[in-house]
Symmetry: C2
DNA sequence: CACTGCAAAGATAACGTTCCCCGATAAGCA
DNA sequence: TGCTTATCGGGGAACGTTATCTTTGCAGTG
């Protein structure tokens, strides 16, 4: 139950004043080298740990950043969190993570909680249905830096870390086309999701480039829910002119598509090719394995934390930046040439 | 950039002393009802938020708890975290989550970081290879309550939240036996994992009860790694007397087993039945869907947080408790009668 | 009318740290 | 010798809150 050692304890022990100890510990120039050595040595010996609460109080900074993501169970977010933690810890910051569980109200509550625990800044990925941004404006009004990652909104003037969704989708669809598929469905995410819409744009452009007609019947929006998605895909497969390939918004949806196809006894990829997005581990666990679009998620997390901390430390002289990462096509069995 | 409102501001505005405001806000009995109303009202109006740093300083409590788990990408841990956040937030605590990524050194670093940010207590799930517990003893020596969840160690005298692994495994194997399978392999986790060993015990007992001979060749340990597991299962299937069923330590391993079986063109469950553990979503996404052992993960998280906070608030009068949850057998396609 | 008792609220110290301002000592300079 | 100037440290306030101790004012009592 050892009481925490404080600066005062060290001061008393060495018969110097607390101010001196404080300055010695941060290697201030106006303290004798010898004294500094002595102070640092005893601090070490007594296992002195600075009291963060006191520090926060006087500096009005907590050296902690908040992270709010839809769901840490998603591969994307738990991986991004690893990247965030990585640079945060390297730069001396603590991470407070929370999940909105895709619910707008929870996102609000989480931001409020973050403000209460007075983080120095927030990394946010919007919940599925968030379309009112007053909670974020409030943060900015309070002077709290915000960085958006992946699930961004154009209306917000913050730093943003994203992947080139349009190019990624274009590449996926182009790949399917080159492999000989012509009737390609897009299993989109919820219509509110800006990233899903960007991918739709890429899907569209690929069709235009290769002069393949677009068919609205092949565009279906799905909630991020396995069972509902399976049903949507079954409907798709019952069309008079069913698709011969599916480009899915995420690997999870791609898996659902595969399940649906299997219940209809379709062969993959011969009868139906599938490609997903994210390059989640699950994509390579299925049989056949699922082609996907890879994003550098860990690095994106690192970048988000870096941008946030830069802004925290530079203050209002910092101008929000948008970092766009490029994707990589991962070819697997589910999209082989037919 | 609105400066934070403090108790002093309210005091100045109402021409009363800060002490009065403080007491009024916490509804102290020795403050006039009318004054209390007034204070609370203006606090509300000015959107007063107590300064946590100041509070921590005077109370020597931070109202935050640390969570260290192997990987938030695992369904178990992200779900448990939801439960933890749920009761923590209900009881006024902030959660600081971090991942050891199954690495012992990271677990150490994380505990150190937690001590630095002076959390009031820690919920921990051990990394795969952790077998030296000095970092945990240090925490306890500092007077920091610790609760272990799922990945526990018998050597540690802390509260523990676990599932009855032995009974769960027994039920899984018994189910396979009742469905007509006789040569059941156990795809165990790493040998260090106590929960894997408990499940082995259940596996063993079921064999004894039903008088089925045990065969060491049917017991293989796997890292928590898809590809390696696939290889292990392929080896298993090449045995002179291959298994007709597999009980996997986790649903992830079960999925790997299924992939391996499919490359050998085995029919599931006719040629090889499979049952997993955890009842992860992935288990129902595969085709055929995978039977599994369900654990009340969210509730376990809630319980862990509850126990921890109880201990934090009761101090040393609290005696560590172990909460044992029961599992539930979820029957799906992969273990149908042959 | 003086005294007691009590309700209500003010004053002050304390938590651990930093930072600004000042004091002491000794060296350098004219 | 008397002055300035570094060099090195000390003193004390401040950050926002709570807890302990006092003070104030007023009603009730005999």
């Amino acid at each position: 139950m050892s009481e925490q050692v404080t600066i005062k304890d060290i001061a008393r022990l060495l018969n110097i004043s607390p101010s001196t100890v404080s300055r010695a510990l941060k290697s201030s120039a106006e303290i004798n080298k010898e004294t500094q050595r002595l102070v640092k040595e005893t601090a070490q010996r007594l296992n002195y740990q600075p009291n963060m609460a006191a520090l926060s109080l006087v500096k009005a900074k907590t050296k902690s950043i908040g992270v709010i993501v839809p769901n840490l169970g998603y591969y994307f977010f738990s991986t991004a969190l690893q990247g965030i933690e990585d640079t945060a810890s390297k730069r001396g910051y603590t991470v407070i993570a929370s999940q909105s569980l895709e619910r707008y109200e929870r996102e609000i509550k989480n931001t409020k909680d973050m403000m209460r625990s007075s983080v120095d800044g927030i990394i946010l990925s919007l919940a599925q249905h968030t379309k009112d941004y007053t909670h974020i404006f409030q943060l900015q009004q309070k002077g709290l830096p915000v960085v958006l990652i992946d699930r961004i909104a154009d209306e917000l003037n913050t730093s943003k870390v994203i992947v080139d969704n349009m190019a990624g989708a274009f590449g996926a669809v182009e790949h399917l086309i080159k492999m000989g598929y012509r009737r390609i469905a897009y299993l989109a995410g919820p219509p509110e999701l800006i990233i899903s819409n960007r991918r739709k744009e890429g899907y569209r452009l690929a069709h235009i480039k290769y002069k393949i007609p677009l068919d609205d019947a092949l565009l279906v929006h799905c909630e991020i829910d396995h069972d509902k998605t399976v049903k949507e895909v079954l409907k798709l497969l019952k069309l008079p002119q069913p698709p011969d390939a599916i480009f899915a918004f995420s690997d999870r949806l791609a898996v659902a598509a595969m399940v649906a196809a299997k219940t209809k006894k379709l062969r993959i990829p011969e009868d139906l090719a599938i490609i997903g997005f994210n390059d989640e581990p699950i994509a390579s666990y299925t049989s056949p394995s699922i082609s996907s679009i890879h994003q550098p998620i860990f690095e994106m997390g690192q970048m988000a934390a870096g941008l946030l901390i830069d802004q925290i430390e530079q203050g209002k002289s910092f101008t929000p930046q948008t970092k766009l990462y490029t994707t990589r096509l991962i070819k697997r069995e589910s999209s082989k040439k037919r």
